[in-house]
């Protein structure tokens, strides 16, 4: 059995091969063969992932003893030289693999194995679904090319062992999202949605880069294990000492953590960057299922999980608060949506908020567990919605649905299973993950109270629990309005039908939604991942003299709000028990109460809504929520409007002012030239000409007596002689004696 690393690499590259093939030969291969080809490749990828899992479990006992499941196959850490950043940047000798270079790298542990299995499985099912769903589309082969490219990018991201590597694939995933949201690019709405998605993600990426920059200048090149080992003590809220005498102050650690988290805010549609996800529903529904439910949006959660040990308590609190706000916001808005996909989009936002909350309060396993289960039931919800939309001839408004369970029963049943799952019916997958989160939230709140912190910490338990009821409510409402009661559009109802290629994947996903809580070993894999990573770090600490006398790595341990470093081994068991009690008391029956309420209120379709609308406050609230709390309008006015305004100002400035100076300078030079020309012509040349004129005048004056008339000459001569004689006489007389 080849090594898991090779298998996972093959799993990653297979979709890339499919992309290249379909890009160049897609048109020739045609419809539907290109779809089946892509499906084949991704299914092969899935097989490789499962094979890797099997290899992972079967390996000979090796180095790491920590895990029961990942027996002996410790995490695999491989790096590739990529960008030169100078030998001098690493006096501290972190990550000796390629001194002077920033590396790309792979890091494989149980979490990676689990993620691969989940991603490839969901992707395969979505591919199969798309073969049927996209059959009529003219650019069918292009669709599958992009889906394959996305699969490659997402898998590459999951493999990432350095933050630079993750960032590169992070952006690639964003690109695929852009291409797929804008797939029907002749529709302006789709093109706008794609642009919005990419730019909002880029806003998050600015934060990511800032975090990366701060990390880079302290640590230089570092793989994930390096980060955990050297920065693992960040969780206790103290300054971290790095080799070489470098200090990584808590304030900077927090900024870095929040910066990196900002990328996750963008990618996972958290508050305040959640605005792109509802619009992203312009994408074909299979895209929504794969990208905007199961995988890409999960990438943000995955990133936070990977950087968890290097987050300071302040950063974690920030994450928890953002998660808290997001889960509330998403659920509230989802409650009044009528477009089935937008409803599911806001539901996704809410569930991602749950995951972030979990990670923020220290429930690493809870958050990642929910990520896995969410992938299954949310993609099921989206694909089922796709089946509904397909049956309804591309209508998405629930106001036109009603009573569809009779026409598309398989869809109705599987959708119902998904609704029950997300509501948290016991024994289905989401119940396990959600109850874990709520239990940990309860423990967190209890511990905070014990430590005498502000009473507001209780909100960390109260709010998610209340929203759990709300979640059950709005999902049940969705099912009721779509499938129950009387048809509201008879024509649509008559034309509705479903086909096996659509409900086949739905059944598989429904099955997974039911069992993935207990029977797929998700939880053990996650816990094993923590143990493996901790083992790697302990090993690194043992090998590096720097760590002699320093505390052991405890980065993945649940870090509760402490401001002292006195959290010894597991004082938390009591609080965990208390939390579980709170959860079973308050949260267990959420599915029943919320679901039953919705079933009662909406069994007659929109009658309840119309009744509620008669009261103005309810109507206003409904409008406010229905429009996504007007975030889009706010952002457009403030951010887009301002930027466009400034850009026009700059362009005007450039043309009038700066270029104006240049042109005026040129004009001044031209004026000076004219002046010089005139000076030359009138002054200097004038002087020269004037001199000539003067000489001429003088000559003319001197020339006057030369008349050429002899009589004149004789007359003058006669006068001259007379004058001379007279003069002579006078002289002679004056000299005579007398």
């Amino acid at each position: 059995m080849p090594s898991p690393a090779l298998l996972l690499l093959a799993a990653t590259l297979l979709p890339l091969a499919a992309f290249v093939l379909l890009l160049f030969l897609g048109k020739r291969i045609g419809n539907p063969l290109s779809g089946w080809l892509a499906t084949l490749f991704i299914a092969a990828s899935f097989v490789c992932s499962i094979a890797a899992m099997v290899a992972w479990f079967q390996a000979d006992p090796g180095h790491y003893q920590g895990s029961e499941w990942g027996k002996g196959y410790g995490p695999i850490d491989i790096t590739f030289r990529f960008l030169p950043v100078g030998v001098g940047s690493q006096p501290n000798g972190i990550s000796q693999d390629h001194p002077g270079y920033l590396d790309l790298g792979l890091y494989i542990d149980s979490l990676t194995i689990a993620m691969f299995a989940m991603i490839t499985l969901v992707a395969t099912l979505v591919h199969i679904f798309s073969v049927g769903y996209m059959r009529q589309d003219a650019r069918y082969h292009r669709f599958f090319a992009f889906l394959s490219l996305f699969s490659f990018s997402m898998l590459g991201l999951t493999l990432g062992g350095t933050l630079l590597h993750i960032f590169i694939f992070w952006e690639l995933v964003g690109l695929c999202s852009y291409l797929l949201i804008g797939f029907w690019y002749d529709a302006p709405a789709a093109a706008n949605a794609a642009l919005k998605a990419f730019l909002v993600n880029r806003v998050g990426d600015v934060g990511f880069l800032i975090g990366l920059g701060i990390l880079f200048y302290h640590m230089g090149n570092a793989t994930l294990p390096d980060l955990w080992t050297y920065l693992g003590s960040a969780g206790s809220g103290q300054t971290v000492q790095l080799p070489g005498g470098i200090e990584f102050k808590t304030a900077w650690l927090t900024v870095m953590g929040i910066g990196l988290f900002f990328g996750a805010i963008g990618k996972s549609a958290q508050f305040p960057l959640q605005v792109w996800l509802p619009d992203a529903m312009e994408a074909p529904t299979p895209v929504s299922a794969l990208i905007h439910a199961a995988t890409m949006v999960a990438a943000g959660v995955y990133l936070v999980a990977r950087i968890y040990p290097i987050l300071t308590p302040s950063a974690k609190l920030f994450i928890a608060i953002v998660g808290l706000i997001t889960l509330t916001l998403g659920a509230l808005i989802a409650t009044v949506q009528n477009d089935i996909k937008r409803l599911l989009a806001y539901s996704t936002i809410s569930q991602l908020g749950y995951m972030m909350l979990a990670l923020g309060i220290g429930s690493w396993v809870g958050g990642m567990f929910h990520l896995m289960t969410h992938a299954f039931f949310k993609s099921l919800l989206f694909l089922a919605a796709g089946s509904v939309i397909h049956a309804a001839d591309h209508e998405q408004e629930m106001t036109q649905f009603g009573g569809l369970w009779r026409k598309i029963p398989m869809t109705a049943v599987t959708f119902g299973i998904a609704v029950l799952t997300i509501a948290g019916i016991p024994d289905f997958s989401a119940a396990a993950s959600k109850s874990m989160i709520l239990a940990d939230a309860g423990a967190f709140a209890t511990l905070a109270q014990q430590q005498g912190r502000s009473a507001a910490y209780a909100l960390f338990f109260i709010v998610p629990t209340v929203v759990a009821y709300l979640t059950a409510f709005y999902m049940a409402r969705c099912w009721m309005l779509t499938f129950w009661g009387k048809p509201r559009n008879q024509e649509l109802y008559d034309g509705a039908s479903e086909s096996p290629i659509l409900w086949g994947p739905l059944c598989v996903l429904a099955f997974l939604s039911m069992v993935s809580g207990r029977y797929l070993n998700v939880e053990p894999l996650l816990e094993s991942s923590i143990r493996e990573s901790a083992a790697v770090c302990h090993d690194m600490q043992a090998q590096d003299d720097f760590f002699k006398g320093r505390e052991e790595f405890t980065g993945f341990r649940r870090v509760w709000p402490t401001d002292s470093s006195d959290d010894t081994a597991e004082p938390l068991a009591d609080f965990v028990a208390a939390g579980e009690q709170m959860e079973s008391k308050w949260g267990y029956w959420a599915f029943l109460i919320g679901g039953a309420a919705a079933a009662l209120l909406y069994c007659r379709g929109y009658a309840f809504t119309r009744w509620l609308d008669r009261m103005p406050p309810a109507r206003w609230i409904r409008h406010w929520l229905e429009n996504g709390m007007y975030f889009d309008e706010l952002y457009f006015a403030v951010i887009v409007g301002t930027t466009l305004g400034i850009s026009r100002l700059c362009a005007w400035l450039d043309r009038r002012l700066i270029d104006g100076i240049v042109n005026r300078f040129a004009a001044a030079v031209r004026a000076a030239a004219r002046l010089a020309g005139r000076t030359d012509r009138y002054v200097f040349d004038g002087a020269v000409n004037g001199l000539g004129a003067l000489v001429q005048d003088l000559g003319a004056a001197v020339r006057v007596p030369q008349t050429g008339r002899v009589r004149v000459y004789v007359t003058i001569l006669m006068f001259a002689v007379m004058l001379a004689l007279a003069a002579a006489v006078i002289v002679a007389l004056s000299h005579s004696p007398g």
Binding site: G86, P91, L102, L164, I168, L175, L195, L209, G213, L644
Partner: protein, 537 residues
Amino acid sequence: MSHLLSILLFLPALGAVAVLAARGRDAVRWTALGTTLLALLISLLLLIRFDYHAPGLYGYAPNHGVVQLVERTAWIPAFNVDYLVGIDGLSLPLVILTAFIFAVAAIASWKIEKMPRGYFALLLFLETGILGVFLSLDFFLFYVFFEISLFPMYFLIGIWGGPRREYAAIKFFLYTLVGSIAMLIALIAVYLTTHSFDMIELPALLAAKTAAGQPLAQVGPVLFALLMFAFLIKVPAVPLHTWLPDAHVEAPTPISMVLAALLLKMGGYGIFRVAYPFFPEAAKHLWLLVAVIGVASILYGGLCAMAQTDFKRLVAYSSVSHMGFVTLGAAMMTVASINGAIFIMIAHGITSAMMFFIVGVAQDRAEHRDIAHFGGLATTMPRFWGLATVGFLASLGLPGLCGFIGEILVLLGSFQAARSDSILLGGGFALRGSIYVISLLATVGILLTAAYLLWTMQRVFFGPERPENKQFREIDQRETTVLASLASMAILLGVLPTIFVFSMTSKSVEALLNLFQNPAPATQLINADKSASPVAD
């Protein structure tokens, strides 16, 4: 092949003469294309002959400073001017880029109707001029080639350009000439002090003169400012950039490609080859000014681009914005940032050539450049859209394509400058706070770039097909060749940057930074007081 560089340098000029002598339009074009392809081949030969492990050019110790394939002949002995050409890790990628872009431009110029003989001859003379800038290692020769390259460009814009071509051409020419005059003053000053034009020895000689306390010590910053003035005009850096939009808009498409891809790099190259090595102390003292200019170019260029309605003008401003990263990378003086700056020069050469060609195709089909009147081109010309997407994405810095590598290195490099052992912080030239602010502002720049580029792509390609645009022909084989070759280079450079660029540049960058970190030890340079130097080649 001992005179490889001279052959490469003068081959295009000979080709130009051949073009002038050729009979008939076809002969003219094929001769020109053949010449550019031959030049490209020779430049690729250089890749094979280059020693990748030799240290870079600059340094102070004896036997540092390896320049390869050097050819030296006395030219004007009375003034110590030699014909001196050579390559090192900094110039080699630029030389290959030049040969490649000119070959592509020759293909792009195929349809020139007016006086093709003159056009192609001027194009080839321009190639010699630009190659000369990158290859020459004698300051006087460098200056000569720097000036020579202006003339063909002036004519090419002024005769074959758009409606305002005379204005644009003379503006371009005089503006850059003003910069060159500043460089001339510095050149004369340098000569009067050191009596040498040899760019290999000059850093050491100048450092010795500065250490010896001669007038140069006081005048150094002034000379540095003059040199930077000359090069920043060419880069172009805000606020000395306003010649670029007009020159680009009025120039014909292939000339815009060459202008953006190569002429702007002469400015960047000058900074790294001349300004920084000659006056490292002044460079360190004035880093903030250069960094602010860089960030201003990034943000201001991006904002101006966003407001444009003329497609070509938008791409011109995006060039200003991208080259701002080069200026910033130079200012921050870390290994990552300078490697990044050099990489951006190469990457931008490819992406800007591609973007201008895209504009050219659109203009050719529509007879106008108004973004508002395009739209739906992805439906009308799908193959064009596919290749154009690569251009847009490379330009906005998507990982996997060439634009990303340079940008991330410059950004990370700016953060790296905040380390206590960096040149700027360690030498006490900077405050940590200013480095953070600069890095932060530069990071925001990537958001702007994505915004205006994708918005433009949306306005031009997406949306319903317009009835007036329905007739546009899909790109033909020639146009596909140009776009595909540029696209493949963009992808190759993005995926394998080390093989393609960094293997050549890393050593040179280290050598350059050595000049900044190690002040010239006075004892070693006692001999350097005379015009003969201990510097080997």
